[in-house]
């Protein structure tokens, strides 16, 4: 495994299996009264968040604390970034404070890569979402959630049909999930209006559909994406009601799904827009489980990246 996680492409198939197995074991050993493990004692993890986030930041913070690492939360609001400090100067400050890992969330695609390649810091860089590019730990927790919903498959998703529905264009979650789930053998179908699909999507290893109703009976997993209103500077669909009618998950569509199928959403949800409240709260929905799985999946990533000797020492 590389010593950073910027994209799902950084992970080999065996790295992914190792993360999923580690997450499963960590879930077992932290399910008792004592959730804390001493493994990362003395290591410092910085959450460097240039964009708003609730669950990703809290999830990383919880994961690092359960492994006994020290956590520093840095958000752009209320820091010197709002005074115009550059990413480079911010990074060098963190380096001087002795950060062992930097978890970065940034509005620009490639920010995590820039931080990792720049030579500004020696810390392990973990991408927690960069612009519309990737969000690898979200995909890992989604894969872990699917793995728990279909335990007989033992992390082999061949034949599992996954629908990813909604704003693919702006979704880093969709990009990371397409890469990861196809790596594990799943067959992914992207469902969206043509205006919400990115250029070049026909090159991706996926099926594409503009019609949510056409194949809804065949999917094992239906992953709804948030309509990212903050990134909607142009008009991508006529109005929210029309979008909701054609691409929203409602009770009628839920009732047509396979009995064993699960509903996922990376959150935060726009209830009533891409997903109805009754679908989000139904027994098929694993949306709340995804949050808990996020903590153990991120613990697995932090342990595998920081738990051992630095890569340079292992090689020498």
């Amino acid at each position: 495994m590389k010593n950073q996680l910027l994209s799902i492409n950084d992970l080999s198939h065996s790295d992914v299996l190792s993360i999923l197995n580690t997450a499963a074991e960590l879930e077992k050993i932290t399910s008792g009264a004592n959730k804390k493990l001493p493994t990362l004692r003395g290591r410092t993890v910085v959450n460097l968040f240039f964009e708003d986030s609730t669950r990703t930041r809290i999830s990383f913070e919880t994961a690092a604390k359960r492994l006994s690492a020290d956590v520093i939360n840095f958000s752009a609001k209320g820091s010197s970034v709002s005074k115009g400090e550059s990413l480079k100067d911010t990074a060098q400050t963190l380096q001087a404070m002795g950060a062992d890992a930097v978890v970065i969330r940034h509005g620009s695609s490639g920010a995590a890569q820039r931080l990792a390649d720049s030579g500004w810091i020696s810390a392990t860089v973990i991408n927690a979402g960069d612009g519309t590019h990737e969000h690898p730990t979200q995909a890992l927790l989604d894969a872990f959630t699917i793995s728990k919903a279909f335990p007989d498959r033992k992390n082999d998703f061949s034949g599992v049909r996954v629908a990813i529905v909604g704003d693919i264009l702006h979704s880093r979650v969709a990009r990371s999930n397409v890469l990861l789930l196809t790596k594990l053998g799943a067959k992914v179908t992207l469902i969206a209006p043509p205006t919400l699909l990115p250029v070049g999507v026909e090159q991706w290893p996926v099926d594409i559909s503009y019609d949510f109703d056409a194949e809804i009976e065949n999917f094992d997993v239906v992953m709804m994406l948030r309509i990212q209103l903050e990134r909607m500077s142009n008009f991508f669909f006529p109005n929210e009601r029309e979008y909701s009618r054609r691409y929203g998950l409602n009770e009628t569509r839920l009732s047509r799904m396979k009995k064993s199928a699960i509903v996922m959403h990376p959150g935060p949800m726009n209830r009533g827009l891409e997903i109805s409240a009754s679908s989000a709260d139904s027994s098929r929905s694993v949306i709340v489980d995804q949050v808990g799985n996020g903590v153990v999946a991120r613990m697995a990533v932090l342990y595998l990246l920081l738990g051992g000797a630095p890569i340079s020492e292992v090689l020498s």
Partner: protein, 175 residues
């Protein structure tokens, strides 16, 4: 390189340990076995089988110690091995930790910490197939299959049918 213990010797040693566990605990009611993966887990399962044949069923589980090791930073991250809590848990029980080889004692130190995460047993005892000496911590075994004097640059290789296809204990690598 020759086998110090062969299949029949290992069987005999484990049978003796089973009897000692019953004797020491005045019965077996509150005893649970916890094997340390990989090979300790198989030895614990064998002890449970022998005890069952003696008319005493004991719960058996496994305990992964990876997250509590003190040498994590000296090697690449290790994969976690399965932890299986025995039926009825460990709270208030007489826990017998089971491992294949007792050497520095560091594995057992980590196991005691890992055990603390799961609950508070009444007593903790230690059963090992081989005690090869060279302790670096104040730890000793309660049940020993075979005391094996070794030099510290030798290594002791325990093979078990379940993983290695053969039962044997060998000393290798003397320089």
């Amino acid at each position: 390189m020759s086998a110090i213990l062969e299949s029949a010797d290992i069987d005999r040693a484990l049978k003796r340990i089973s009897h000692e566990i019953i004797e020491r605990n005045h019965g077996i009611e509150s005893v649970v076995l916890l094997g340390i993966p990989t090979r300790g887990a198989y030895i614990a399962a064998r002890l449970a089988e022998i005890l069952k044949n003696l008319g005493s069923e004991v719960p058996v589980g496994t305990l992964d110690i990876t997250m509590h090791r003190d040498d994590l930073r000296m090697r690449a991250p290790r994969p976690l091995l399965p932890t299986v809590l025995p039926l009825g848990g460990i709270e208030g029980k007489d826990v017998v930790l089971v491992d294949d080889v007792l050497f520095s004692g560091r594995t057992i130190r980590a196991a005691l910490d890992a055990l603390g995460e799961l609950g508070r047993p009444k007593t903790v005892q230690l059963a090992v197939l081989v005690d090869r000496g060279h302790r670096e911590l104040p730890i000793r075994a309660d049940y020993v299959g075979k005391n094996l004097p070794t030099s510290s640059n030798e290594s002791v290789k325990v093979s078990l049918k379940e993983v290695d296809g053969i039962d044997s204990v060998e000393i290798t690598g003397a320089r």
